[in-house]
Symmetry: C2
Subunit: 276 residues, 2 copies
């Protein structure tokens, strides 16, 4: 991994890194915060939303103060492969910046858009090899990245002790963002979409015995709430499956990083308790 | 004032505002954070550095968590007038985004570049009129804005109870950024520059009996430290004048907002203690 730049922050070190990904076949970028001390430290992975790079969370979430206090490594990857020779779409919600944390099977996306395998098979071993991690992990994210955090945790529960989300796309098989992206990346056979739908996974019991609680924060002034995010589908799925899930509707909060900055401390504490 | 957008954050409200400035003769933009509750609240003004708008501090400093706890209104104005018909320079360190918190007397800058009067005569009454302020104020800033905070506080001590700075341009009469800007805005007669030089003001006793302490944080890995910032000139001036000034050299920290985010809580606490 190449260190693009680094900064001291809250007594720890923040690195912007770049590496060639064997999974996506492209360069990939990410940020890694390491807290003060020698470690080893648990790892928390953040997945960002549509249009984001690794930079949005890193500069705007204000997460590193609490991560330093709790002794957590925090990793934020980019949201898709990028660059020349990588397929793209003029819309903001498909292609570069919109990887949706799935492995695409359809043209033109299949060669590079493999974000599920990238995070699970390449990013985690890469971080565990390069930084003093304990081997215990949590994952969280926002919007498309909240969907990513929930579905990666539910499909790979052996990798994560804890999962939470801010304003996740709760059921991408039942909203315009998800139907567009899953249709493009996975094709029109909807049976192949189900394992990328957090609500359907929870309803099928994927979280049972794995996660004692799933924390979801959602602003009630979020303009995407009714059409795209639909967190009530997570609550209904959890109730049907007998799974604990805590949805906190936050009055007045919107879809911006100001919302995440307001509650990121609580999410980090939630994860730290489960990573001890 | 027109509300451009607003966000809930840390229990308070953040507004991006726009108004027509009678002082600069242009539209001016700013952000205003109001903490939870009815107030009245003391006001803290943040002044940003070269190339910044009101957005850099607002999104990156992570200041509103502590400001909410302390019950402080935090205002961040843009760093210069902007727009068509406003003079500019292709360099990043002159013209739009580089107002230096002075009232320009020279062409082509004099008609609009009046950032000292804007902050002191227009912004403060505007905020006091529109928000529930106590009428007590502090001011702080970064780099060019650290220079601005120090010089505005020292030239208008009746307006501010407290002042601090991150990596300020400590003596603009003795560094390339300052010599270029003051020469352009105020002309070649250096005697007119002295009242915009914090080190010279402190040495002349401008802080005596007004500010019990002046807090300055400076990263020792800041690439601008030796040539542009020179905080030792503040320390020497304070010693010569018998003025208390606390310079904290922060090991490993650079000139970025990650540095400011790491210490902004301490600055807000410093101001809140003096605003009670």
């Amino acid at each position: 991994m190449e260190i693009v730049k680094h900064h001291a922050v809250h007594g720890g070190t923040l690195r912007y890194l770049k590496h060639h990904s064997a999974v996506t076949g492209t360069p990939m970028t990410l940020s890694v915060f390491t807290p003060p001390g020698e470690g080893p430290f648990p790892l928390v992975i953040w997945l960002s939303g549509l249009t984001c790079t690794e930079d949005n969370f890193t500069t705007k979430a204000g997460a590193y103060r609490r991560a330093a206090e709790l002794g957590l490594i925090v990793v934020a990857p980019d949201t898709s492969p990028r660059g020349e020779g990588v397929a793209n779409d003029p819309a903001y919600d498909l292609g570069q910046g919109a990887g949706f944390y799935v492995d695409a099977t359809e043209a033109p996306w299949a060669p590079h858009f493999r974000m599920e395998s990238y995070v699970v098979e390449e990013l985690i071993p890469l971080i565990d090899g390069a930084f003093p991690t304990t081997g215990t992990r949590a994952i969280f994210g926002h919007s498309m990245g909240g969907h990513g955090a929930l579905t990666l945790a539910l499909n790979h529960p052996e990798l994560f002790r804890s999962v939470s989300a801010f304003a996740p796309i709760s059921s991408p098989t039942r909203c315009p963002w998800g139907e567009k992206a899953l249709g493009a990346y996975l094709g029109s056979d909807r049976s192949r979409w189900a394992r990328h739908d957090a609500a359907l996974l929870i309803q099928a019991g994927a979280a049972k015995g794995r996660f004692d609680d799933i924390l979801v924060d959602q602003g009630d002034a979020d303009g995407f709430l009714a059409e795209q995010l639909k967190p009530h589908l997570l609550v209904e799925a959890a109730e049907a499956a007998g799974q604990k899930l805590t949805l906190r509707m936050q009055p007045g909060y919107d879809h911006s990083y100001f919302f995440m900055a307001s509650f990121v401390d609580h999410h980090l504490t939630f994860h730290a308790e489960r990573l001890r």
